[in-house]
Amino acid sequence: MTASFDSHLFWAALTSEPYWRGALLALELTAVSLATAIVIGFFAALGAFSPRRWVRSVVWTYNWLFRATPTLLQLLIIWDALPQLWSGFASSWFTPFMAAWIALSLNEGAYMSEIIRAGLLSVDPGQELAGRALGMSRRQILRRVVVPQAVRIVIPPTGNEFITLLKLTSLASIISLHEILTSAQELAVSTFKYPETLLAALLYYLVIVSMLMVLQSRLERRFTWSSGRRRRIQAPAVPAISHDAR
């Protein structure tokens, strides 16, 4: 069986420009989408605690809308439907990468807001009380005390989100974004050699995720407060989110 595996083609695919460019594109798209999603999610999480009812309603509706509908549909609406609704989107700046960035950020922001909300809730209310007793403003307490402690709780589920998002970038192949999976499929179709071409793509995903895991464990240590930085922390109380349906 292995005799039919063309290792030459495998290496050629692995080192070919479309592959590494495609992988880089997937990584870029994941990174910028996650970064944007964290910003959206942070403010949505704060909004969920707002005393104003309308703010909470906006956050709720946003979370509901983007979690209840398929990511693929969101991507198609932003890429295909939006330019027909607003002519501003029917111009050259609106590239497939832009469309995917917007769609994935909005989608992921909804999930991140729940994760960040749980992270903020996990910080002992006594911390805020102590800050107020010192005369610190709400914003100072958030920035210096609550957010750093919430970050530690938020890192592991955010690592999961990165992985999910990386895999979701392959959806962007249908709006002609030339990411790694598109490159692999093109090569597979032209050579008719599926094992070699697809395995090469698989390897790229494995490498990217492995790099992320190293980064994540460094970050976790960075946000653990012991001078020895060895403290074990219990699994965070973050609601499990099923990724299968996305």
């Binding site: 911390q127 102590a130 010192l134 610190m136 005390v145 750093p148 407060w225 012991s226």
Partner: protein, 233 residues
């Protein structure tokens, strides 16, 4: 002129009236100890005095004006040190964030106050590496460094192992001797007897009785105080 004063303070949580018109004052350099059963409103009174809770009626004044941020120091039962900061940063935090001092100035003062509570050598340790007694002493230093006009202690030794209580009480006693204005909620009757200028009994959101410790413990006037002391001693 009273240092810290609560005038006819009413505080409700929903339907529950926790403070029912409390008038209370402490003069400069006085130490007032508040005792009473749980749910009597002691902690709520301290929180109102520290401006952590706004009263529904009445007012709190410091030297006959509204207290400014950081002017009334508070020490909590569960220490509430900032978990993401080492001891030194905990003590510096208020100086940098609220008093707007430069980091080097803040550091200098913070170290002096850590020395004051005997913890200078633990400056770089994080709260989870310190014992309860050490954490509480850092918390006291964190409040003192703000140069408060009054210090409030909310059952500061209740969460401590028995052998760690002494080191915290020692710090509190030396503060009292130095003339700090203090309001102390505690179950440490010996502390009340030896350090207090006067002792107050609270029950059901009211101050039932106030007297100098000698009179308060030997000849309490109110029946409620007699019953409480009989149970505690």
């Amino acid at each position: 002129m009273s240092a810290l004063r609560a005038h006819d303070v009413v505080k409700c949580y929903g339907d529950l009236e926790v403070l029912r018109g409390v008038t209370f004052e402490v003069d400069p350099g006085q130490v007032k100890v508040i005792i009473g059963p749980s749910g009597s409103g002691k902690s709520t009174l301290l929180r109102v005095l520290a401006s952590l809770e706004a009263p529904d009626r009445g007012a709190v004044t410091l030297e006959d004006r509204a207290p400014q941020p950081g002017e009334v120091g508070m020490v909590f039962q569960r220490f509430n040190l900032f978990n993401n900061m080492c001891a030194l940063d905990n003590v510096m935090c208020g100086l940098v964030a609220v008093r707007k001092l430069s980091k080097s100035e803040a550091r200098e003062q913070a170290i002096a106050f850590l020395e004051r509570v005997g913890l200078a050598e633990h400056a770089s340790k994080y709260p989870d590496e310190l014992s309860g007694g050490q954490q509480q002493r850092v918390a006291i230093a964190r409040a003192l460094v703000m140069k408060p006009k009054a210090m409030l202690f909310d059952e500061a030794t209740s969460a401590l192992d028995i052998e760690l209580v002494r080191e915290v009480l020692d710090v509190m006693e030396s503060l009292a001797r130095e003339g700090m204005t203090m309001v102390v909620v505690t179950h440490e009757m010996r502390f009340a007897q030896h350090v207090a200028s006067s002792v107050l009994m609270m029950d059901e959101g009211r101050i039932v009785e106030e007297a100098p410790p000698a009179d308060f413990f030997s000849a309490p006037k109110e029946e409620r105080t007699q019953r409480f002391l009989a149970l505690v001693e």
